[in-house]
């Protein structure tokens, strides 16, 4: 792909980043140079934009290639040096959304070129399937890799036209997949160990950003309340729970789901072992071993979390319920139910507010 200066300013991640970072690094050592100063300023701004806008979004400055281009690798260095995962993730997403907004304005051939730089197996088509027109056909493997974090029904493979190994997509959908590829690539870059001597001034910028935004991430985490609220179990869990209590046969995945769920809401190991006691082939030692394994106190030391709602659906463990609303995970469903439950019980206390 032959890239114009404008292309590089729009899609700076397409050039050899390592090379770019090395070159820029030489320049940022020389911060007294006023031209370099404005590059650093723009770099810090890129990160700020990602943190301030919701959804995160970095702007594009038309006809300012001399600053737009080098400020990207500098921003990468700064975001990586922050060592803060929240900042890194937001920044990667901000740049990816910037790219997406620019891509949807492009000609189809330009989109194809960008996708090919990422080694996607993709081609232009002008096919109609049913009464819908498609612009691209992409290998289902590239498709799955770049829709992994998507949860919309329309992006599930089963809801897409799939012919001879290719998924048929519109231009806008391809841009959405490219956004994910860009996000992942930038995030990978940000997680690479960088050992650079950064000038004082740059470090100050980074500290400032951290002070201002790093706290944001913590607000978002919702602590699971202590204690076990059976009333708040999502339907999949209460089904497994009562099956276990009454000694019915539960599949391997079902046992795993129930055990990891209960561990994650803070139930103690001996209490969980007790639940399985009425099973006719109950073996205390083996059950304890399995529970401890899932708790991470044995073997690999990994503490497991229960499978997502989607996975439970795949394996027929989701009884399907309107009451779950839009949640994606049984633990999230549990937390939501507790909130509602608590609110309701407060409402029930007469004279309360």
């Amino acid at each position: 792909m032959t890239l114009t200066r404008e292309d590089i300013a729009k899609y700076p991640f397409l050039t050899d980043a390592a090379e770019e970072v090395r070159r820029v690094n030489l320049e940022i050592q020389n911060l007294d140079n006023p031209e370099v100063e404005s590059i650093v300023k723009r770099a810090a701004e890129r990160i700020r934009e990602a943190l301030e806008n919701n959804p995160p979004r970095v702007s594009y400055r038309e006809r300012e290639e001399d600053i737009e281009i080098p400020s990207f690798p500098v921003a990468i260095i700064m975001a990586a040096a922050s060592g803060n995962n929240y900042i890194k993730r937001r920044y990667a997403l901000g740049e990816a959304i910037r790219a997406y907004n620019l891509l949807i304005e492009e000609e189809r051939d330009k989109i194809l070129e960008v996708a090919e730089t990422f080694n996607w197996r993709i081609r232009r088509v002008k096919d109609t399937i049913g009464d819908r027109r498609f612009d691209f056909a992409i290998s289902f493997i590239d498709y799955l890799r770049n829709t992994r974090p998507f949860h919309e029904d329309r992006f599930k493979l089963v809801n897409k036209p799939l012919l001879k190994g290719e998924v048929y997509l519109t231009k806008r959908e391809v841009a959405r997949l490219l956004r994910e590829e860009v996000r992942r690539r930038i995030e990978d870059k940000l997680n690479m160990e960088i050992r650079l001597e950064l000038p004082e001034k740059l470090l100050n910028h980074i500290e400032e950003i951290k002070k201002k935004y790093a706290g944001d991430s913590e607000k978002r985490i919702f602590e699971t309340p202590k204690g076990t609220f059976h009333e708040a179990f999502p339907p999949c869990i209460s089904q497994l729970f009562s099956a276990a209590k009454s000694g019915q046969h539960i599949s391997h995945l079902g046992r795993f789901t129930l055990t990891s769920f209960l561990l994650n809401i803070g139930m103690k190991i001996p209490d969980i072992v007790d639940i399985f006691r009425s099973s006719s082939d109950f073996n205390e030692r083996l059950t304890r071993y399995q529970v401890e394994h899932i708790a991470g106190s044995r073997g690999s030391g990994t503490k497991y979390i229960p499978p997502s709602c989607e996975t439970l659906k795949t394996h027929g463990l989701c009884p399907g319920s309107e009451t779950c609303g839009n949640v994606k995970h049984p633990l999230a469903s549990y937390r939501r139910r507790i909130r509602i439950f608590k609110k309701e019980s407060q409402d029930n206390i007469s004279g309360h507010e």
């Binding site: 049913g130 009464d131 829709t147 599930k156 493979l157 799939l162 012919l163 009425s278 659906k313 795949t314």
Partner: protein, 410 residues
């Protein structure tokens, strides 16, 4: 002589002559192998072999009741799970009559309450009707109908893999599992590194899980009161499957079938009284806007039936498990004494497992049969038997012994 040592000796004789048939997986040194033994009934895992000769000799010496290899490739297959170093895995599908609700299971599958010994047929209940016990000994039978329905599911799966996923038939290895089903193994460089969540999407595609017909051509008026158009039978992928499955269902749906879907009376009457018209409509734009009173929701219920019949019933856990162990081709299955037989994708239709998978072709033995339904081995049909001493050809005898339905007579 007890059953287990008799079977063990026969397996030993078989491997002595036929271990050279054992078909190794590609990249043998990167695979993990696992075995069950007869004597102590233990599992041996985390084995690896540098070449096929070592593997065959090992099987010859160990005489396992079951032999497996990993779908996955590892840097160090002999290490514990955490240290193996996963390099990728082939794509595997398991179709087993267990996942197909055939009617004959009520006739040939039995369960016995572990507590009181009460016996019943079909799938074991949640609790024993006599003593309330919850543990059961289940015996599943590989009958012809069950094997045929497993084959049908395997053929639907092959359509998905070839037409939709674009695999070429020579990348696909079909096998008879040696018991009640088929294995389908796809080996292709590009799919090796797919993670479990990508494999889950493949499973959902094949089982029709999460499918919304609105993405496959079912269109209605803004509030969904009326359907304006739907997919065609000759269209590719799920569009065509939805149309063909709907056609098939409406062709023969009884009043009860339709009531079961929770459709309104008026719609049911429409479907039944205008069946001819509906069938004819497929020549043009289909019946989607034909049935008065049937909106998007009603059609989605009907389409659910289409998805059920067009999807392939695979074991969802096997395909998403990237560390799975798979039975080794041309080895004996300890529950039947039959072989896991590899075949190519275009051979499956004509394939007869009850002739091709037979390992023991010589000799007779007298056994005492407790209970067995009628079964066929090769061209010959045996049984049904109950509390009887019979002399049987070796394959039939070993089958009943492996099923624990008989004992060697002295």
């Amino acid at each position: 002589m007890n059953n287990i040592s008799f079977i063990h000796d026969k397996f030993a004789e078989f491997y002595k002559e036929n271990a050279s048939m054992i078909k190794p997986p590609s990249n043998i040194s990167k695979r993990e192998f696992g075995f069950f033994t007869f004597k102590e009934n233990v599992v041996i895992r985390h084995k690896s072999f540098l070449n096929v000769e070592d593997l065959r000799n090992y099987v010859k010496q160990l005489v396992p009741s079951h032999a497996y290899y990993s779908a996955a490739y590892y840097e160090m297959p002999e290490e514990s799970m955490e240290k193996k170093g996963w390099l990728g895995a082939d794509l595997y599908f398991d179709i087993d009559a267990d996942h197909i609700p055939t009617k004959c299971r009520k006739i040939h599958d039995t369960w016995t309450c572990k507590k009181c010994g009460f016996q019943g047929r079909g799938v074991a209940p949640n609790e024993c009707p006599i003593c309330g016990g919850k543990g059961f000994e289940e015996r599943k039978w590989p009958c012809e109908i069950c094997l045929e329905s497993a084959k049908y599911e395997a053929m639907k799966l092959l359509d998905f893999l070839i037409d939709d996923f674009g695999f070429s038939p020579h990348e696909i290895q079909v096998s008879f599992s040696g018991h009640r089903g088929y294995h389908i193994h796809v080996e292709n460089e590009k799919i090796r590194e797919l993670d479990s969540s990508a494999r889950k999407e493949i499973v959902d595609y094949i089982t029709g899980t999460g499918l919304d017909p609105a993405y496959h051509g079912l269109q209605g008026t803004p509030h969904g009161r009326r359907v304006t158009s739907g997919p065609d039978m000759d269209e590719p992928g799920w569009r065509g499957r939805i149309a063909r499955g709907t056609h098939e269902f409406l062709l023969s749906a009884t009043k009860e079938d339709l009531e079961e879907l929770g459709l309104r009376k008026k719609i049911i009457n429409e479907i039944i009284s205008r069946r001819e018209e509906i069938l004819k409509s497929w020549e043009k734009e289909g019946p989607w806007s034909l049935i008065r009173g049937a909106g998007v929701e009603a059609w989605k219920r009907i389409i659910r039936k289409a998805i059920e019949s067009q999807s392939a019933r695979i074991d969802t856990v096997v395909t998403t498990d990237i560390h799975r162990l798979i039975r080794l081709p041309n080895t004996l299955h300890g529950k039947t004494g039959w072989l896991k037989i590899p075949l190519s994708a275009n051979e499956i239709e004509e394939f007869d497992p009850l002739s091709s998978a037979i390992a023991f072709k010589k000799g007779e033995v007298t056994i005492y049969v407790k209970e067995a339904p009628e079964f066929r081995i090769g061209e010959e049909t045996f049984g049904p038997y109950r509390d009887i001493k019979v002399e049987l050809p070796m394959a039939a005898a070993i089958f009943l012994l492996c099923k624990d339905a008989a004992e060697v007579a002295d």
